[in-house]
Amino acid sequence: MAMNCNPKDEVDGGPPCAPGGAAKTRRPDNTAFKQQRLPAWQPILTAGTVLPTFFIVGLIFIPIGIGIFVTSNNIREIEIDYTGTEPSSPCNKCLSSNVTPCVCTINFTLEKAFEGNVFMYYGLSNFYQNHRRYVKSRDDSQLNGDPRALVNPSKECEPYRRNEDLPIAPCGAIANSMFNDTLELFLITNDSDPTPKPILLQRKGIAWWTDKHVKFRNPPGEGTLEERFKGTTKPVNWPKPVYMLDSEDDNNGFINEDLIVWMRTAALPTFRKLYRLIERTDDLHPTLPAGQYYLNITYNYPVHSFDGRKRMILSTISWMGGKNPFLGIAYITVGSISFLLGVVLLVINHKYRNSSNTADTMAF
């Protein structure tokens, strides 16, 4: 490279290269690529050329927005805050920690029946599940049933890695802070009948299929779960060890769906997590008919200390998931704005077409 004065230049075809051979010129190839003449589309952004884009955006977005909006509006959703910070709230009594277990009941009325499957969520606010150190504080290998990780969890779980020299299963801050309120739903069929009808809440099918079947696994081995989790201890905050989360074996231990759902850390400090499914049982009756319900809460989870809030949400779903008024409005708004801008451009294009040409002349 650096050898400009070298004899090799001659070898490489420097100035005194032999003119005898075939006339090998250094003439560059006349190809479209090398000459930068590739066929090209050269859009020019002016009011005139751009305004169709705005109109098209407007015309596409507004119908989509309306569609989403309507769909979202058709979704039934009811949200009940049971944090109990208001003195009038039935759960207010549970704020002090001396009442254990504290059970409170909240009445609510469904104005309209909920058709189709109904999802029951618990919602938390001001809960930073996305905090960096919180998010890291877990051991996926342990949760995947790795026996080594079970007894020797990752360092990331500190300080919830060991308790009294026993490895914690599941380790880490996420598992330790698992939501542990119990929510039950009862329908008051009619005023005359005082015995409320409990609503069947499915505990299974609330987690991602892949989570339940691939990502989370109980430790391998024969015997009961308890044996398999031998040598580990429960997370500090938990009342029961992990193998006692549920009565059914396929929903117990690490593959307990409540745990799985909790372990999927929420993106934002205000979030909800799927708690139970209310499946539609028959086509004749709505899943949740209109009427009076009461919510029975076993209040364990302390959120008031950090100004958090707890909610219970019942929601039907549509093709686009849960209720989401924002997207529809956003589409309509953006579509309208785009349309408006298009009109502005149209005016400009009309008004300034001539003057832009004089600008041409002025500039040149």
């Binding site: 650096a2 050898m3 884009t53 360092k155 989570d211 950090f306 785009s338 600008a359 002349t361």
Partner: protein, 1482 residues
Amino acid sequence: MEPAGRRRRRRRRRGDGGARTVRSGLHPGLPALGSRGARLGLHGGCAPPAADNRLKTTKYTLLSFVPKNLFEQFHRLANVYFVLIALLNFAPAVNAFQPGLALAPVLFILAVTALKDLWEDYSRHRSDLAINHRGCLVFSREEKKYVHRFWKEIHVGDFVRLHCNEIIPADVLLLSSSDPDGLCHIETANLDGETNLKRRQVVRGFSELVSEFNPLTFTSIIECEKPNNDLSRFRGCIIHSNGEKAGLHKENLLLRGCTIRNTEAVVGIVIYAGHETKALLNNSGPRYKRSQLERQMNCDVLWCVLLLICMSLFSAVGHGLWVRRYQEKKALFDVPEADGSSLSPVTAAVYSFLTMIIVLQVLIPISLYVSIEIVKVCQVYFINQDLDLYDEETDSQLQCRALNITEDLGQIQYIFSDKTGTLTENKMVFRRCTVSGVEYSHDANAQRLARYQEADSEEEEVVPKRGSWSQRGSIGSHQGVRMMHRTQSTKSHRRTGSRAEAKRASMLSRHTAFSSPMEKDITPDPKLLEKVSECDKGLAISRHQEQPLAHLSPELSDIFDFFIALTICNTVVVTSPDQPRQKVRVRFELKSPVKTIEDFLRRFTPSRLTSVCSSTGSLATNKSNHKSGSSLLSNLSNDSVFLKLEERLGQPAPSLASNGYSSQAESWASERKPEPGQEQELRYEAESPDEAALVYAARAYNCALVDRLPDQVSVELPHLGRLTFELLHTLGFDSIRKRMSVVIRHPLTDEINVYTKGADSVVMDLLLPCSSEDARGRHQKRIRSKTQSFLNLYAVEGLRTLCIAKRVLSKEEYACWLQGHLEAESSLDNREELLFQSALRLETNLHLLGATGIEDRLQDGVPETISKLRQAGLQIWVLTGDKQETAINIAHACKLLDHDEEIITLNAESQEACAALLEQCLQYVQSRGPHSTPKKTEGNVSVGFFPLCSAPPQSTARGPSLSLVIDGRSLAYALEKNLEDKFLFLAKQCRSVLCCRSTPLQKSMVVKLVRSKLKAMTLAIGDGANDVSMIQVADVGVGISGQEGMQAVMASDFAVPKFRYLERLLIVHGHWCYSRLANMVLYFFYKNTMFVGLLFWFQFYCGFSASAMIDQWYLIFFNLLFSSLPQLVTGVLDKDVSADTLLLEPQLYKSGQKMEEYRPRAFWLNMVDAAFQSLVCFFIPYMAYYDSDVDMFTWGTPITAIALLTFLLHLGIETKTWTWLNWVACGFSILLFLTVALIYNSACATCYPPSNPYWTMQTLLGDPVFYLICLITPVTALLPRLFFRALQGSLFPTQLQLGRQLAKKCRKTLQTPKERFAQGHLPQELKAELSQGGTGSPSESLSKDCALQTSQHLQQPPVCSPEASGEPSTVDTSVPLRENSPRGSPGSSIPGAAVSGECPGHLRRKSLSTSRAAPLQSLFSLPNFSSLGCVSSLSLVSGLGSVLRFSSSSLHVDKRDSEFLSSSPQPEQDLSGLQRQATGYV
């Protein structure tokens, strides 16, 4: 006037007092280093082992590669930064990513660079290997003969034997040559690109050796300088075993890399080998400059760093507060330290700060530097590949030597140009001369030159007639007096204009510099020719009388001397192609140059014979005996020899060579084949084109140089026969003396004559003062004043002038001078100084013979290029060493100066005068500036101005057009500290600045001044060694790879074949490179800021904990993989404005000068837009997923996708040209992202904590909301930008946008059916537009059909216009056809071509006026006119027609000539000659 080829920079390198001693490598007995014999020792110092001849240019070895390369890479601050950040990641408290993963991009970048370095190093290694293994004959002590060795085995002190056409392996001291005179010719093209042969001489003391040089007997010690890089100097001495000392100089040294030519074989001793050779010491490798854009970019990178720190600090504070708030509240999500203790808010804040820096590191774009480098390499590739920058004549394209300042080409504000060889062709053509006060105008010669010009332009348009060798009638030339050596082949070369022939000619001139047929065939002036032959005849008759010259009239004798001087006062080497020189030579008298006083006495005493016989020179006895014998012979039988000569011309030497020589010749003759004595054309190889021109001119007058040896010059005259002048001394040209002289002994008069040739200003001062008393003196005076006036006339015509003078020395004077001169020559220390003084002593009291005017033709397209560059807003300064008048004239010719502009001339004799003048000029400029009311200059300021044409400059928007002409001396004053500001201020007001008589140093000082004071981007262009300093100082240095060697090219960043390529290089490629890179850099900043913005907004929702919702993989590889390709493609290929439009509208270049695309405002606007877009891209997903069960990475992945889409769409808005590559790149980016995401998300369920991305992407693809937000977010994010762009494009379009719109309109019209063009109809749209615009301002319509901007000052309104207005559409549309159709006001100006029928007079005048400088071709052979849509074929056709009509007469002549020549078999012969030549070099 400086003969251009000799403008060598005088490098004086003092200080390395060390010397090197070299002994023969064959004598083991001597103090030796190493086993193979003594090499060298240093005087008074311990000797480092001398290098062998092995070449090693590699930087690394296998072992040292990794550490050394890493070390070098860490010189780049960015790399250190990224590595530090990656290392930071290893600290658990602050880590944001998996540590290994974080290292990946840095390692990737480092690895790519390392691989590149490795590859480069490997190719260097391979070429080293090839060179090291070249073979060469080296004398071996063991075998007592020359054996083949590799180059790398050569050591200092070895004897090497080289044959013709071999490349010299090391710096070798020439000890012996097959040439009887101890000469050796080398070609230094590899070293400096000069193709003429240089003569080297055997060391004195060895040249006289009779038998073949035997290395075994070499016992001398050579002392010389330490290795240095000064090619033009070598000093030392050789100490023979008997204690004798002889000086060595550069004529004795053969430099590595040169090629032996015309010499059978030489032997030498290696002085410097390997890396100590001058060639390698001169090799400084490619240059690294930092472009302005990059500097600005670095500044913005610093802003980004600041921004990064601010964001991190903000986060840190936020996190501290957050921790304090939630810690005491025992929040469930607050994770204590590992030991269970809680983190104090301050510590948490510090940790957060560091982690934030890691997370946000993307803000400092790691891939930016790599991408920029890739883009630049591609840009360089495309510039190299541009067909329009390829010069067919020289078969060379543009070379980019500096890889990283391409974008600077788009921002140039000042161009500093050399004149000779840059604006002009540096092909010197003898134009006219004056002898003894009589002017010979050489009209026929002028016509001949004009014809070349015509031929040039015709050949462009008319179908090239390859093979039809037409000869132009030599009107006015005297066939009978053609030179005897003028072969048919030169005749057939007469029409050089045609491309094919030019190519052939240039192939020829590869071997023979400066000898295109145009320069060779000079049509003599009949009057002068008559006089020359008269004195030739007269002398032939009176040659045997005592004073032959006295019989001639003074005028005739002056003429005779004049031509003798032209012929011999030079260093031209006569060669005949391909064969060693002595074949051509006829040797009469052999004398070495006068070397000693004894020698002188011996030769110049009357009893020459006896003294020679009694001389006892040990070595030379034999030879001088012979010599004197032969000289005796020639003295005795002059006549008979001359008669014989006629017959023997072709088959010379052997028969005449006497015994002493034949023995030597035989010893060399092993592989020499006797060649038939065929008549060969003599070639003149000159160091400078001026010299060649003069020799060819003399030859046209039948005074032909036929041979040149170091001691004699032979001149052939028709009647007088061959005259052999004994060459006593040659005092070479230097730029301080500005002249050269030869000292000869005249064969006819036996007098010692000094012939001096030099710049008129110098020579005129050295003339013998003549008294006005006697008649002779008065006559002389008259002659001088006449000559001076002719000289002025020549200068005004733009000719280069040289004065020829002579001095007759008496023997006493000569002896006296010789004494001093010999002392000077033999002095070791101060040789150059003393020789200079000695020359000054000789060159006085001259007798003026005459003067010559040499034309240096303008290169093709120079005026057009200059006017384009002007339109592009470039200020052009011409810095030349020429005299003022010549410079002004050339400046007029190339349209640098206009006749209607005022010229301020600064010629000051002293500092004070200069200051006063400057002051006055400034006052004047200021007084006329603001009011723009031109005052009559004569009245106001009289001292410094002479308006050449005091027509009031039109008060246009451009302001008053002023030009500044300053000469070297005033420039020196003006560049003083106290005046430079004023000078600059004045120069800034002027449209063009012309510095005459400037030295190389001044040139560079001017450039430096402008660069530092005006903070302007400067470009220096030049072709010669005297431009090197200027080229190096300027921001961009451009070298012209022309006639004068490669020194300028070696120093340059870009090398172009011709000046006119500068136009495309700057206006097209410069603009593109700048605009592409500027946009890419802006885009990079935007991209990174926007991406980092997303993360930053998230901090508000994660407690400022430096958490990232975007998966670490995406975060790390996003820049490197997903979003890098499209921007690279755009950065490489995007064309904001097409080349044609750029060339058509050079004003567009100004956007680069003003840094319109990448200025701080653009940067900050970009950042604001990035912030906005990131807000949109963050909050739309935020709102869409607010209070939902989405998890962090299922939410982050759509954001990543959105970001990618937004980037691509943004790039789409910014991309001006969409080729399929752009589409593919964008598609590839999206696909790559999807593929990577899908694979990554299904690869491992438990890996990559903490993100756990398992099956995320797959789930998302099943979620309609994902698609919905992917649709709305990018659109929303980009709506404002698109709207703004559209508004701006409509309301306040920039020049560039206008240019694009214009080009688009042109294209549209082109797309309309072609037949309409053919029929001469106007495209409908165009017509409509015309009629629409016709009612309004006429200039409106002009702009619509992409007419050019008119440069109003250029021309007066044309003569006839009524016809034009009669058919307005036709005329109007034909306007844009022409490249720079000047029109004062629309409608009144008609291009000459279009209305030629109505207005022939006007056309002719125009054409004629342009024909000299601007060949007709420029009128219609627009290289791009096919793509310039608006060109209606109507005007095209009429243009063609008129041109055809115009040139029909010349065509006619042409045809006749071709018939005349068609029977000639010459072309074939010529071709075969060429082939033979070619094979000779293979």
